[in-house]
């Protein structure tokens, strides 16, 4: 097992409470941080090489460095706890079990950025976690860790948790900001970037839960020490939420650079494919990243063993690689149908499109319908090319990356599993176990 910087003591009874969290060394990093200068903290994060854990992998220290600091304008740190990317369930796990780790990270981050009021935006469906955080924040206030003059340092901070209303798009940072302002979650056109004009037009940093939590061990051990973990530009540890057809689904903290084969087959992690089945495909970083067939997943096109790192998973570009993304690791064994699963994901993106850009609003719907038609046994020979055409007209042509996120799964499924589409079209009888789930919503009219 790798180092457990975030999940350490996660099973200790009472670790969700302030008292037990402190017994295990909690809030030591805050004590240390408050004795440093804010710029020094930003430097430590830069040195750590930490990259955003929300999906895009942008260097956190650099993002913090970009924050505009106009005189007299308040700035904000906002934690993105919207976690809605299918396959991803690490943030919920962490917040539910170690809420104080996130709160400690939020206080340190806010201090480093000079924020006086910070928010945790949590998706509304996780209402029970909202209440866990509310309680933990209250306890932190009562202990003088939040509010006026924290630990006698002279620094004051208010921290609030804010629930969403149910919308995947609110994980996109500018949609999240709109939502936090009390509006519909329509992403904003960038620039301006949130670092200059974010919530209430104030400079804002939005970071993922895991990113903010990782600041705590970084302060404790020092950025340089943290950077020694991992490989190349993939430093530190990463939470991976593994699900699908594996023996041991769950949340694992790995040292970045762990070979994917070990992650998939070792009993310390996924424990191999269920029922002794064969691996068919993996979606390695949440539903948005390209799907890879077993061979290309385990080894790069050059034949090197693939590693769980930003670079290695992306090796080969989209032709033969994928992305680390959010760490939502979805495994499919040889009983799974790539086309059916793709239909479901495409249906998801269609449902979640905010509707601002026509390529995304219309294109996701068209792709869903074409896929449904194929699965319903009425596929046409030209449908695969049609799908390819639609996705290529969404990719890169929208306001926010949800459009890309909808296009990539389609493109990669066609790239690597074209024969499965063609077989379904040529020989509808080969579509096993079709249940027409979609029909339930559209009983009278066919969906295409």
């Amino acid at each position: 097992m790798g180092k457990q910087l975030l999940l350490d003591n996660i099973h200790a009874p009472g670790i969700a409470t302030l008292g037990v969290y402190r017994e295990f060394g909690g809030y030591k990093a805050l004590e240390k941080a408050l004795k440093m200068k804010p710029e020094e903290l930003v430097d430590e994060v830069k040195k750590s090489g930490l990259r955003g854990r929300g999906g895009a992998g942008f260097p956190t220290g650099m993002k913090w460095g970009f924050l505009a600091k106009p005189e007299g304008v308040p700035r904000h740190l906002v934690c993105n706890a919207d976690e809605s990317e299918p396959g991803t369930f690490k943030d919920r796990y962490l917040m539910e079990r170690k809420p104080h780790l996130l709160i400690e990270g939020m206080i340190i981050g806010s201090f480093a950025l000079g924020a006086r009021t910070s928010y945790i935006y949590i998706r509304g469906e996780m209402m029970y976690v909202y209440h866990i955080l509310e309680q933990a924040i209250q306890d932190a206030y009562d202990a003088g860790l939040l509010g006026e003059n924290i630990m006698g340092s002279g620094y004051s901070l208010d921290l609030h948790v804010h629930p969403g209303g149910g919308a995947y798009i609110c994980g996109e940072e500018t949609a999240l900001i709109e939502s936090l302002e009390g509006k519909r979650g329509n992403p904003r056109i960038k620039p301006p970037f949130p670092a200059v004009s974010g919530v209430w037009n104030r400079p804002t940093v939005v970071n993922n839960v895991e990113t903010i939590a990782a600041v705590v061990p970084i302060v404790n051990m020092g950025g340089e020490e943290y950077a020694k973990i991992g490989v190349g530009k993939s430093t530190g540890t990463k939470l991976i939420s593994a699900c699908g057809h594996i023996n041991k689904p769950g949340v694992y903290e790995i040292d970045l650079g762990l070979p994917v084969e070990e992650f998939l087959y070792s009993d310390n992690y996924c424990g191999g494919i269920r029922n002794g089945n064969k691996l068919k495909a993996v979606v390695a970083g949440g539903s948005s990243v390209p799907i890879l067939p077993a061979e290309l997943f385990l080894k790069t096109a050059k034949g090197e063993p693939r590693l769980m790192s930003y670079e290695s998973l992306a090796d080969g570009g989209f032709a033969t690689g994928t992305m680390l993304g959010s760490g939502g690791f979805i495994v499919m064994d040889d009983t799974a149908s790539v086309v059916k699963n793709l239909w479901n994901f495409t249906r998801f993106y269609h449902h979640e499109s905010c509707g601002q850009c026509s390529p995304c609003r219309e294109g996701t719907g068209w792709m869903e319908k074409v896929l449904y038609r194929i699965l319903d046994g009425h596929g046409k020979k030209e449908d695969v090319d049609l799908l390819w055409d639609i996705q290529s007209k969404i990719d890169g042509k929208t306001i926010c990356p949800l459009g890309d996120a909808a296009a990539w799964p389609v493109a990669s499924a066609i790239r690597h599993f074209r024969s499965e589409f063609e077989e379904y079209i040529k020989n509808p009888g080969s579509i096993k176990d079709v249940k027409h789930y979609y029909r339930l919503h559209n009983e009278k009219e066919p969906a295409y």
């Binding site: 308040p74 976690e83 809605s84 990317e85 299918p86 396959g87 991803t88 369930f89 943030d91 919920r92 009021t117 998706r123 509304g124 469906e125 996780m126 209402m127 029970y128 209440h131 509310e134 208010d158 609030h160 804010h162 629930p163 969403g164 209303g165 149910g166 919308a167 995947y168 939502s179 936090l180 302002e181 009390g182 509006k183 519909r184 979650g185 209430w200 939420s241 593994a242 699900c243 699908g244 057809h245 689904p249 769950g250 949340v251 539903s287 939502g328 979805i330 499919m332 799974a336 699963n341 479901n344 994901f345 998801f348 449902h351 979640e352 249940k435 789930y437 339930l440 919503h441 009983e443």
Partner: protein, 180 residues
């Protein structure tokens, strides 16, 4: 007679506390949390009267509330049963049998996705990934996640809710008392 739309004193105190979390003049931010509280207090859904009432509290136009309420999937713009049974239908849960689960519930309750049982006890709603894919298939009722489900387990869970017969909402009433 329709009953008057007005938060209880306890809930209203919480509403005002939440509104103070945002900067001066930016209390519109509180709209989503308040809509959750409104669903808790007013039968699990947002009637036009409820939304108008929320607008009056926030001192904004009713249309601003309708706009928000209609965007987010957790807000019900039509009446729902006492128990909203929200079954995850997204990829990872689907790979592990979510569809069978939905069909089982439809048969057991004799309703389709989106419908309410004749006795007003259950509404079935399929929803998107709830960040619980490692314990798939799963469903949410009120604030509770029911995970690693089988058809038998679903029967058991639904029977428990039926026996209690109480309304459950995402923002559970028990937290109002706890916060005072």
């Amino acid at each position: 007679m329709e009953k008057e739309v007005k938060f209880s004193d306890e809930t209203l105190a919480l509403v005002h506390k939440i509104m103070k979390r945002y900067p001066e003049g930016k209390h519109k931010s509180a709209i989503i949390p308040i809509l959750h509280l409104a669903q808790m207090e007013f039968d699990g859904w947002l009637s036009p009267e409820t939304m108008d009432y929320v607008a009056s509290i926030l001192r904004i136009q009713p249309i601003e509330v309708y706009e928000v309420a209609s965007f987010y999937s957790m807000f019900n713009l039509k009446p729902v049963g006492k128990c909203l049974v929200e079954v995850c239908r997204t990829g990872p849960c689907w790979l592990l049998g979510a569809e069978d689960l939905v069909r089982h519930i439809e048969k057991k309750l004799n309703i389709k996705d989106g419908e309410t049982t004749a006795d007003g006890m259950f509404t079935l709603k399929t929803v998107e990934c709830l960040a619980s894919c490692g314990t798939a298939p799963m469903m949410q009722i009120g604030e509770t996640y029911h995970e690693n489900l089988t058809c038998d387990k679903v029967d058991q869970v639904l029977n428990e809710y039926r026996q209690k017969g109480e309304r459950v909402t995402h923002w559970d009433k028990k937290h109002i008392k706890a916060q005072q």
